[in-house]
């Protein structure tokens, strides 16, 4: 009876199935997106640059890079965007004093993605970047060569010719620095393996960062990690609002879509009052009629839910790929949940009109009133 009732009313059921599938799509799609938003947006917020700084603990002035590397091992590889050492030295160019910074250009591009370089990034150890203020002050530009002099760690003097490959602009202190590779600076000063600090960019919430910081503190006592509050605190504030926005928007859309699904189901069932009347007239019990509709509702809800999860995954994936250029991580718990909710909504929407239908006199229904 169940099968025949499903097969006979194909087009009508298709409409109902379509509605349930759409409901399921919205449910799974919205739920996965709101679930994944902090992770996806968190990655975008890394464009603000470093959110943790490592400095030497205690009275040590310089940070040992081997210690820093050990500290970096405390951080899950997947969430570490980059670690960049910075070493500052005073140097002279044409008798004028400047601050030279030794760093790792490759990781600096990850931890300070906002550096804007006119010209080329340095490709070798004898190529450097100069800050935009220095460029303006001295008239140097990409391609010029300069001689850097200064005093090495052991007190002897050094002098080295370098090529300016580009001009770096950030709107803050870097505008007044000469930036070169750490190896080049070490070759000049003679001592190696140390830096003033290391900047880390880590994808994670403030609590996760706090946990990382305390595990570094206890496992590598030689370095002391400091959270860049400006970045961490603001990120937490903005991200939580964004997530709240998506969650609220999703729930409004979800509730409305579910109501639509329910009304569609109700219409479909209401059409069959005549059939219910007939069944009652030939002696069917209320319970058996309700049971039949229940079975139908479960079957429709299940099919619609399965279709919905498939489309919902595509929906969420499409949104993420288009917005963030990365795939979504699906929470597998959401799959059965979507199917269960679909079934529940369908069954409720079926049973309400059925209860009303079975309560009326069969004769009235059959006469068409």
């Amino acid at each position: 009876m169940l099968v025949s009732s499903l097969v006979r009313r194909r087009s009508r059921l298709l409409a109902a199935l379509c509605a349930i599938a759409i409901g399921g799509t919205v449910l799974l799609g919205m739920a996965s997106i709101s679930y994944d938003i902090p992770r996806q947006m968190g990655r975008e917020f890394r464009s603000y640059g470093a959110n943790m700084v490592l400095v030497a603990s205690g009275e040590e002035a310089l940070l040992n890079l081997a210690d820093a590397a050990r500290a970096a091992k405390m951080i899950p590889a997947a969430s570490l965007v980059g670690m960049t050492p910075f070493r500052y030295e005073m140097v002279r160019v044409n008798m004028q004093g400047y601050t030279a910074v030794g760093t790792d250009f490759e990781s600096a591009r990850k931890t300070s993605p906002y550096w804007s370089v006119t010209g080329e990034w340095p490709s070798g150890d004898d190529e450097i970047l100069i800050g935009s203020d220095i460029a303006e002050f001295t008239g140097l530009a990409g391609g010029s060569s300069i001689t850097i002099t200064g005093r090495a760690a052991d007190g002897s003097r050094f002098s080295r010719d370098m090529t300016v490959s580009g001009v770096v602009r950030s709107g803050s202190v870097e505008d007044g620095f000469i930036v070169m590779s750490l190896a080049a600076l070490e070759a000049m000063t003679g001592n190696s393996g140390v830096a003033d600090m290391a900047e880390l960019s880590i994808a994670g919430t403030e609590e996760e960062l706090d946990a990382i910081a305390s595990s570094i503190r206890s496992n590598v006592p030689e370095v002391s990690p400091r959270l860049v509050k400006r970045v961490t605190q603001s990120e937490t504030a903005v991200l939580s609002k964004l997530q709240a926005l998506v969650v609220i928007v999703s729930s409004v859309v979800l509730v409305l879509t579910m109501i639509c699904v329910a009304t569609t189901m109700m219409t479909v069932v209401m059409e069959r009052r005549r059939e219910i009347g007939l069944k009652k007239a030939i002696g069917a019990e209320n319970r058996s009629i309700a049971g039949e509709f229940l079975g139908e509702g479960v079957l429709l809800g299940f099919l619609g839910g399965v279709l919905g999860t498939a489309f919902g995954y595509v929906f969420a994936q499409a949104v993420c790929v288009n917005v963030f250029g990365r795939g979504i991580i699906l929470d597998w718990k959401l799959l059965p949940l979507t199917i269960v909710v679909s079934i529940a909504v369908t069954v409720c929407a079926c049973l309400l009109p059925v209860r009303r239908a079975v309560e009326v006199e069969p004769a009235l229904v059959l006469r068409g009133e």
Partner: protein, 434 residues
């Protein structure tokens, strides 16, 4: 005859029509809420991103670089070597530029090195004079409140924020966490600060920022001017402004505003790009250079664009889902009327008349429902605005035609397939009840 049938149908089938109207209202309310939120999300998120602090620094022309020469990193750079300054009495002019309304907050700084003495040893430390929470009237007559309190929202303050106060009475200051532990002082203690002049200050609060500010002492601006003998001068101003994400035009203008054509220049000047705001600040403050802080400015643009794109996609997808579900329902409820349509056809109505009747009926119902839904949607939008951002969502008139268009399209898309099916039925069969 047509209108009599129309009113008759609408009145007699109140229940069914109410159902269509209700679903339409639900759909229209989703559209209204989503579209209103979508159009406003940029402004709202921009407002939130202000918690990252200043996105522009204003420095005296020519002096910005010399200041960085001495010292190592961080704000401790601009020390004794500086010889060029901005005038404090020009600062209210920031509130007179074309985009004055977009300037959310600003704070001036005057840095000087001073000998700071707490209970123990005296320490040489950078002292910065600033506005904590300054209130003044702008040249345009507006009352303006600005300063560090809002600009440094990420500071963890133990105690309270310092007061700007005036030369009479005892001045208060804020001490960075590192400096406070070196000095051995706590909120409520007193420190003496000595440069060219000297005085005692009450510590209102100790702050932790995680940056190099933790080694500094922040005092009211007039105090720093007094002890350094630089009356009426400031060395740098941090400005936090609401901006539009940069595009090709803005990038070209940032390189050289003179390369733009007259029309492009007008567009650029009248759009809140960070480069045009910087340009306007340089116009009003004499001998100043306004530099975008790229860490904040660039990231803001990227995040705003992502958020807007996300909202647009979510809106588009949920609107199309809602449309599908609703037109599906309209189809189902029109189909129900097969017996009635059969009867009308049996007494001699043409297909055109039948279609016109159904479409008009559905449209009237849909539009009524849509209007109802529009107002409900405004409610939802405000609910979202207040829950998430704690402020109202601006209502855009543009949403009204969009919602109307969607309602009409959905109603049409829903009734057309049903009409085609109904017209293909044979009256006798339908009336017989198959």
């Amino acid at each position: 005859m047509f209108f009599r049938m129309l009113t008759g149908a609408l009145l007699r089938q109140r229940g069914r029509m109410a159902m269509i109207a209700l679903t339409m209202a639900l759909g229209a309310s989703i559209c209204t809420a989503m579209l209103n939120v979508m159009f406003d999300v940029g402004d709202k998120v921009n407002q939130e991103l202000k918690s990252y602090g200043a996105n522009l620094t204003v420095v005296p022309r020519g002096a910005s670089f010399l200041g960085d020469l001495y010292g190592d990193a961080g704000p401790a750079d601009e020390s004794a070597g500086q010889d060029k300054y901005l005038a404090e009495d020009e600062l209210p002019k920031l509130k007179t530029i074309f985009w004055a309304f977009n300037i959310v907050d600003f704070a001036p700084y005057l840095q000087t090195d001073a000998l700071v003495k707490g209970s123990g040893n005296a320490i040489d430390a950078p002292v910065l004079g600033t506005w904590f929470d300054k209130r003044f009237d702008s040249p345009t007559g507006e009352s303006v409140q600005t300063g560090m309190v809002r600009l440094k929202s990420w500071w963890d303050v133990d105690g309270a924020w310092a007061q700007d106060g005036g030369p009479e009475g005892e001045a208060s200051c804020m001490v960075g966490a590192n400096l406070a532990s070196k000095l051995g002082v706590r909120p409520g203690d007193r420190v003496s600060v000595t440069a060219k002049g000297g005085a005692r200050l009450v510590i209102a609060g100790v702050f932790h920022s995680g940056g190099s500010e933790d080694d500094c002492l922040f005092a009211p601006l007039w105090f720093a001017q007094e002890i350094s003998g630089r009356q009426g001068l400031v060395s740098r101003v941090e400005v936090s402004a609401l901006t539009t994400p940069e595009n090709e035009l803005a990038r070209r203008a940032a390189r050289d505003p003179n390369s733009l054509s007259r029309h492009e220049w007008d567009t650029w000047y009248c759009t809140a790009y960070i480069s045009s705001i910087a340009y306007q600040i340089e116009e009003v403050i004499s001998n100043a250079r306004a530099k975008p802080v790229l860490q904040v400015a660039e990231s803001e643009g990227a995040i705003l664009q992502k958020t807007q794109l996300l909202m647009i996609l979510l809106t588009a997808l949920s609107l199309s889902c809602a449309s599908l579900a609703i037109s599906n329902l309209v189809t189902a409820s029109v189909m129900e009327r097969s017996a009635e349509i059969g009867l009308i056809k049996a007494v001699g109505a043409t297909s055109f008349e039948v279609s016109a009747l159904i479409i008009t009926e559905t449209m009237i119902t849909a539009l009524l429902g849509g209007a109802l839904g529009y107002f409900a949607g405004l409610g939802f939008a405000q609910l979202i605005g207040h829950t998430v951002f704690g402020s109202a969502i601006e209502i855009r008139p543009l949403v009204i035609p969009l919602v109307t268009l969607l309602t009409v399209t959905v109603a049409l898309a829903g009734s057309l397939p049903a009409i085609r099916l109904l017209l293909s039925l044979r009256p006798a069969e339908v009336l017989h009840g198959r």
